[in-house]
């Protein structure tokens, strides 16, 4: 059976497979081994297929492998499904991207990732009463024939538009109040707002290890202050969302 190489992570040390005991089991029940180039290594294992199946079990196993490696080494997790033909290809990619790998490894060194999701039950319609719509501000629209259906349609639309604006302003204010102190305590952050109407903030933070406790305490404090919001903080994770390079063009 033809075998391929699944690459899990790039490590900032020249790890010898024989040095790594006990061995970590990779996907398809093959042990993880290390392919070195200069002072970095790739953690790889043999897999049976070039296109990996996606299932929650496989994804959990994949995460566990990276997590086990991360306990020992500073690393850059590779995207799920990064499969190459052979070890020579793995070395080639390390040669080509060596300086990118080194730069990224420096960024994530001694840092952990945390994920924060904030849920809010605010609804756009809650803002109807407190919106600032005033027809007197739209003189030309006001002057149109009052019987015109188009005039009344536009007035409704403008009112709706203003409600949405004040809703988004409120959400922006909440996000700012939460994100601003956390940004100060983190090294890097990625923020997406309004992932769904309820998840108003989905953020990942890269935090220096010595700042982890302070970071978590700050979120506990914000949670106590914002009783109407729901929080989900997870971590510490390997730096999945802070690897700023792609090897997409080199994988099968």
């Amino acid at each position: 059976m033809k075998q391929y190489k699944c690459i899990y992570a790039i490590l900032d040390s020249d790890v010898k497979s024989s040095d790594h005991k006990p061995e970590i089991m990779g996907l398809d029940s093959s042990p993880v081994y290390f392919v070195g180039f200069r002072d970095i290594s790739a953690a790889v294992s043999n897999v049976n297929q070039d296109k990996m199946k996606v299932s929650s079990d496989i994804a959990f196993s994949y995460e566990k492998i990276i997590e086990d490696l991360w306990m020992k080494y500073n690393l850059l997790p590779m995207r799920f499904g990064s499969v190459m033909k052979n070890d020579t290809n793995v070395i080639e990619i390390m040669k080509k991207k060596y300086s990118d790998f080194i730069d990224n490894l420096k960024i994530v060194e001694n840092k952990s990732e945390f994920g924060l999701k904030i849920l809010c039950d605010l609804n756009k319609t809650d803002f109807k009463t407190e919106n600032t719509f005033n027809l007197n501000n739209y003189k030309k629209l006001k002057q149109l024939d009052k019987k015109s259906v188009y005039r009344n349609y536009l007035i409704d639309k403008l009112e709706q538009h203003k409600s949405e604006d004040s809703f988004m302003k409120k959400i922006d204010d909440i996000i700012e109040e939460i994100h601003s102190p956390l940004k100060k305590l983190s090294y890097l952050s990625n923020v997406t707002k309004m992932v769904t109407p309820k998840i108003i903030l989905n953020a990942t933070y890269l935090v220096k290890n010595e700042m982890k406790d302070e970071f978590i305490q700050k979120i506990r404090q914000i949670k106590r202050e914002k009783k109407d919001l729901k929080f989900l903080l997870t971590g510490p994770w390997p730096p999945y969302n802070f690897v700023n390079l792609s090897i997409k063009e080199h994988i099968l």
Binding site: Y138, R151, M194, T196, K198, I216, L232, L233, T234
Partner: protein, 114 residues
């Protein structure tokens, strides 16, 4: 996700999982190519895109009214166009048996389409 990774959790994790599923389901990953359903999958995708463009036009129109850059005649014409467009979309949704929820699309930082 294993429980030992959850540091702070206000509510059941199921609620968050449900919300995240909505994002995944907002647009089909693939058009359903089953001969019986292909029309439905394709029409959902096409109408979602048309609705996105219609909403953007509407937003732009509101901005123009707010900036006072249109005369009365233009405002009236704009109202007529937007209203007819919305009515036509409603007709199309009815024809293809789709609701506003079906055409909802998360636009990331811009929020939801609907």
């Amino acid at each position: 996700m294993s429980d030992d990774k959850i540091i702070i959790q206000s509510e059941s994790i199921d609620e968050i999982a449900e919300e995240l599923e909505k994002v995944e389901n907002a647009l089909p990953n693939k058009i359903n190519a089953d001969p019986d359903n292909v029309e439905s999958g394709l029409s959902k995708l096409v109408l979602t895109l048309i609705e996105l463009i219609r909403k953007l036009m509407e937003k732009q129109a509101m901005r123009r009214i707010e900036s006072d850059s249109l005369n009365e005649e233009e405002i009236e014409r704009l109202g007529e166009t937007l209203m007819k467009l919305e009515n036509k979309m409603n007709e199309l949704k009815e024809i293809f048996g789709l609701t506003d929820e079906d055409l909802n699309l998360n636009l990331g930082p811009l929020g939801d389409l609907m």
